[in-house]
């Protein structure tokens, strides 16, 4: 029992636990759509592309969420514009935009006086450094994104399952996708705090992918993803506490293990 309660005497550990739970719920809500629409690559791109927004906000003392949101909107529009103007396939457009944005972030950060420690924080993340203000921010984003997704759920469902019918009945399929990209960008900002940009796509999709293997409908899939994400996050935090490993990466590893277990145990 001490094994479980010992770390709880530290406020930073409790905050990390709450953050992990909140972000797992948020990732389950958004990640389901990312997995179902085959947007995982875009999710990965987004997680890198919001980097300059975060760095810019960090350097100017602005709000990180706002910085990332601006970068996310610019990226979502940029991917569309590059694709249209150049006639290249979408994956090339995504590749060009996200690597360019990421490089911009690193160049901006290299101008900062305390370059190395900050960079590693952004790239790897640190759930144990979550502040109370971060938690309130995470709660607000979870509520906003959750509300948005509830409101447009039936449209997203049709556009994801059968885009042809969705266009036939007059749904703005492309705009729905851009909106999803922006929401992904918002979620990424919160996951960056925990696991850094390089690993954040794992939180976004791994639990949802595992849940998809097991769930029969969307609601169950989202609930299961939230549950698996929470379990993986909490387990990962404890393991990192005792094994003295990088917490973000440990959480990602536990999530990966859960996915592999789901793969092995799924009903045929």
């Amino acid at each position: 029992m001490h094994l479980l309660t010992d770390p709880l005497q530290f406020a930073f550990f409790n905050r990390a636990l709450i953050a992990v739970v909140l972000v797992s719920v948020l990732c389950a809500l958004v990640g389901a759509w990312v997995v179902l629409r085959g947007l995982s690559y875009i999710g990965d791109a987004m997680s890198h592309a919001v980097f300059p927004g975060i760095v810019g906000a960090f350097l100017t003392g602005g709000n990180l969420l706002l910085g990332a949101l601006i970068a996310a909107v610019l990226t979502a529009l940029g991917i569309g514009a590059v694709g249209r103007q150049s006639g290249l396939k979408q994956d090339s457009a995504i590749g060009i935009v996200f690597v360019g944005m990421f490089a911009l972030g690193i160049v901006m950060l290299s101008r900062a006086p305390t370059f190395t420690t900050d960079l590693s924080n952004f790239l790897i993340g640190n759930p144990l450094g979550v502040t109370p203000a971060d938690l309130w921010g995470a709660l607000a984003v979870t509520l906003v994104v959750g509300g948005f997704l509830t409101v447009i759920q039936k449209e997203l469902l049709l556009a994801s399952f059968d885009p042809t019918e969705a266009r036939a009945v007059g749904l703005p399929v492309r705009r729905l996708e851009s909106l999803l990209l922006i929401l992904i960008g918002l979620v990424v900002v919160l996951t960056v705090q925990l696991v850094g940009t390089t690993l954040s796509v794992s939180l976004l999709i791994t639990s949802s992918a595992a849940a998809r293997l097991l769930a029969r409908n969307l609601k169950k899939m989202m609930m299961l993803a939230a549950l698996l994400g929470t379990a993986g996050g909490v387990t990962g935090l404890y393991i990192s506490y005792y094994a003295n490993t990088a917490p973000g990466a440990t959480i990602v590893l536990v999530n990966t293990a859960i996915f592999l277990a789901a793969l092995a145990f799924r009903r045929e």
Partner: protein, 240 residues
Amino acid sequence: MLGVENLTVKYGLQTALENATVRFEAGTFSAIIGPNGAGKSTLLKTLVGLLPDHADAVRFDPGHSARSCISYVPQQQTLDWAFPVTVWDVAMMGRTGRLGWLHWPGRQDRQIVEGALKETGVYDLRSRHIGALSGGQRQRVLLARMLARQGHLLLLDEPLTGVDAATQETLMALLRAQADRGRAVVMVTHDLEQARRWCDHLILVNRRVIADGTPEQVYTTQNIEATFSTSFLGHTHAEA
């Protein structure tokens, strides 16, 4: 009720459809027939509004528009049947276009969906995941969604493909009944025999409209040869 006038569609240098003019009337069950690559799906996609560049060739009668009245049933294999939705969920998607933004399905919508599932004979399967269904059952679910949408104009892309013989009969009888109730039913198919048995309007297509009329008018050896053999010649010509 709806038609296209002088529709020409090109994909790159390849002409999919040239100068096609057809009309579909309420109360009629029409079949668009032709070999692969004949432009059947192109014609259907234009009607549905999926080729916006060609929207000006589409003619709706006053009081109708694509969004208000079309129910579209895509080819089964274009959908992801591992998607985490149940039979009921898919049928309920038929209500999405009717409900509009910020409206949620109410009791009336649930009754409509229930009726549609019963009519197509898959109500007992309503809680099943769609991945657990046979090809025939999947097609019935798509038809239930189409019915739930309550469109006046039903467009179906290859509804008989991947469907067992018994279900084919049920599907055709159901579509026939929809036409008899005053709806315009249009299906794309390469099954000439089924079309001839059930439809009262056949259109033979092979990159242009070869024949258009009642089965008696259209079903001649000459027309059928023109439809199915020029495709072969056309191919060798295109490849040469």
